[in-house]
């Protein structure tokens, strides 16, 4: 397998190892998780294509691991894991935003999200924070007001006066 890279990147062995373990687990579950009856052609079995997928995953990741066993892995796996974990902070931000939209409404949640995340990312100047909030408004106007994408009005809008409530639910 000379076409494979000579040296793995930090964290690659761990990543592929985890991928292999999950693939092997999925393969052990195929009997329970997909139907395979004695009758009928092999290709028509519901378990055939998931089987192709998981067997391929196990086979290819297994071969990848074997080729990497002989390669000297670069140092820095620990540092790489820290970087991976940092991604979860932003997933957290994203999920809080997802939870807030049906409650606060799309416009208030988006402006709050862009403003606070810009602040978290180290922007302190009024100009950049202003741009962040303006971008939030622009995104809502483009997608909800103009393109009419399906995003429900916030529960908070129920407390607005009648005319304004309908306007906000429809447009923001």
């Amino acid at each position: 397998m000379s076409a494979e890279p000579k040296r793995a990147k930090p964290g690659e062995f761990l990543f592929v190892g985890l991928f292999f373990a999950i693939s092997a687990f999925l393969l052990t579950q195929i009997g329970d998780q997909a139907k395979f009856s004695a009758k009928g052609k092999l290709f028509a079995q519901p378990a055939f294509w998931p089987g192709v997928g998981v067997i391929g995953m196990v086979l290819f990741t297994g071969l990848h691991l074997l080729t990497h066993m002989r390669q000297q892995t670069k140092d820095g796996t620990g540092a790489e894991i820290v970087v991976w974990l940092r991604a979860f902070e932003f997933v957290g931000w994203f999920m809080v935003y997802v939870v807030l939209v049906p409650r606060l409404g799309y416009l208030p949640s988006t402006v709050l999200f862009t403003f606070l995340l810009a602040l978290r990312m180290g922007y302190r100047s009024p100009a950049m924070l202003g741009w962040a909030a303006t971008s939030g408004v622009a995104i809502v106007v483009i997608f909800k007001t103009l393109l009419g994408v399906k995003i429900p009005g916030g529960a908070l809008y129920e407390y607005l006066p009648d005319g304004l409530r309908n306007f906000m639910i429809l447009n923001f």
């Binding site: 997909a34 028509a44 294509w49 997802v98």
Partner: protein, 494 residues
């Protein structure tokens, strides 16, 4: 003539024209900002186009797809940072030209070569249409299965040096597509008793996670960068005159772009590599390549801009996407009950020709926009990367949530965002997952249909096109094994 008039009739609507303008201008801007790229933009905009007419939605997305590479050349030439991944080769000769004070000339050549490549590909597409219309009906279930199989093999083999992991990720895509209710017997597959998995994992949720959310995380985690650019003075038309001096390079490179674009899984990088090598071989000054050779710049830009139009061929004629962006567009077709494939060429040829014309108009609009607004784009390039990350994460929400207003979809997309982030950190490919999902679904359906009509597996290749495709698969696999064996021998010799 009737066909042409009917196609113009499809396009002659204000909403289509607006989609063309928004798509082409938006694509240039997105392409010019390093770290965004057409894939992210198309992934985000995809659900928003579902409420539009097929031609309007597709024109907007095609606009972004076809014009992002134009914009990507700007930072590649001026600040040595490719706007999109496919502009990487442009930096080899574009940036050295800027360093010696020829930035305007380099940019002008990049625009003209891109325009030539884009228009050349559309003209080829128009001339190939009757041939495709004649051949496409001969593609039945078994031929489409074999073509999809060939596509997935090519996608995996295209990732030289990462073939095993690309294969694993393609198989992961195939497996992902099988989650949920199986389409014939309606039995559940890999749902682990969870009702929210019964509907399967939506391709768009995966695409948004792998492309948009992962890119947002990359930008948010990395150090903040804001490229600094000056301003350009003078007109940018000179490249169009200069291109005539290098018309052979432009034509050969565009031809490579068209050929490679038509083959699923191959795409821009191979086209660029072949064009660049051919241009250097044919040059009187090959030593200048990599140090600011105009032919190198032309080869890179003409070939990569010829690919988008050509990549539409397997998508429209056979319903087989060749790479991630056309895979995303396939979902737009399906949402509007327009099924790409042989039937499309037989029944809706005017729609196909309308798409070609839209691509042609798009190239003209993009060049006109670039000639007028390059200095404005130089300001947009300077947007700080972390700020872009904030915006992309915000936009990702619209893409996922507007599909079904589902928090679970958002959580799945976020999960794929982290997975995509890890893949990007490790320089591992993402595209095989998407193509595994799309082509896996096509292969499952077509294999079942075709196996019902044959007595033995050998009957699968008893028709001429099926046999040719089977031979192609053998040749591709055989040549790869041969290359591996040759590489191994040469390593041992050392």
């Amino acid at each position: 003539m009737d066909l042409l008039l009917s196609s113009f009739d499809i396009l002659a609507r204000w909403d289509v024209l607006i989609a063309l303008v928004v798509g082409s201008v938006g694509g240039v801007i997105i392409g010019a900002i390093p770290g965004v790229g057409a894939a992210v933009a198309i992934a985000i905009l995809l659900p928003a186009t579902f409420s539009l007419d097929p031609i309007v939605g597709l024109t907007a997305l095609l606009g972004i797809y076809g014009s992002s590479m134009y914009g990507g050349a700007i930072p590649a030439v001026l600040v040595n940072t490719p706007g999109t991944a496919v502009n990487a080769l442009t930096t080899y000769d574009g940036y050295p030209m800027t360093q010696r004070g020829e930035g305007r000339r380099a940019l002008s050549l990049a625009y003209s070569a891109s325009f030539f490549g884009g228009v050349f590909a559309v003209v080829c597409l128009i001339f190939l249409s009757p041939v495709l219309a004649a051949i496409a009906p001969h593609f039945g279930s078994r031929e489409i299965f074999l073509a999809s199989l060939l596509g997935i093999i090519l996608v995996v083999l295209a990732h030289r040096g990462q073939i095993l992991i690309a294969g694993a990720l393609a198989c992961f895509g195939i497996w992902l597509n099988t989650i949920g209710l199986e389409p014939i017997q309606y039995s559940k597959r890999y749902t682990f008793g969870q009702s929210w998995l019964s509907g399967g994992v939506d391709l768009i949720v995966v695409v948004l996670g792998l492309f948009a959310i992962s890119q947002a995380i990359v930008l948010l985690v990395d150090k903040n960068r804001a490229p600094r650019t000056g301003t350009l003075s003078g007109d940018l038309f000179q490249g169009f005159k200069e291109l005539f001096r290098y018309k052979r390079v432009a034509s050969v490179s565009s031809s490579f772009g068209v050929l490679m674009g038509m083959i699923p899984g191959v795409g821009e990088f191979t086209a660029q590599f072949m064009s660049y090598t051919a241009a250097r071989r044919g040059s009187k000054t090959p030593e200048q390549f990599g140090n600011g050779a105009p032919e190198g710049l032309i080869a890179s830009e003409a070939s990569n801009n010829a690919v988008p139009a050509a990549a539409m061929i397997p998508l429209l004629a056979l319903g087989i996407p060749g790479e991630a962006l056309t895979a995303m567009m396939l979902s737009v077709f399906y949402v509007h009950n327009v099924v790409p494939g042989p039937q499309l060429f037989q029944n809706q040829m005017d729609f196909v020709v309308a798409l070609y014309i839209a691509l042609l108009v798009l190239n003209v609009m993009v060049v006109a926009f670039l000639l007028c607004s390059t200095n404005l784009l130089l300001k947009i390039i300077q947007i700080p990367t972390r700020f872009l990350g904030v915006i992309i994460l915000t936009l990702s929400f619209v893409g996922v949530y507007s599909l079904r207003n589902s928090t679970i979809d958002c959580a799945i997309a976020a999960g794929f965002g982290v997975f995509g982030f890890m893949l990007k950190r490790l320089n591992l490919p993402i595209v095989p997952i998407i193509l595994g999902m799309v082509l896996g679904g096509i292969m499952e359906a077509k294999l079942r249909t075709s196996m019902m009509r044959v007595k033995s597996p050998l009957d699968m290749i008893d028709r001429p096109i099926a046999f040719i495709l089977f031979l192609l698969i053998l040749v591709v696999l055989g040549s790869h094994v041969w290359r591996m064996w040759k590489d191994r021998n040469s390593t041992e010799d050392l």
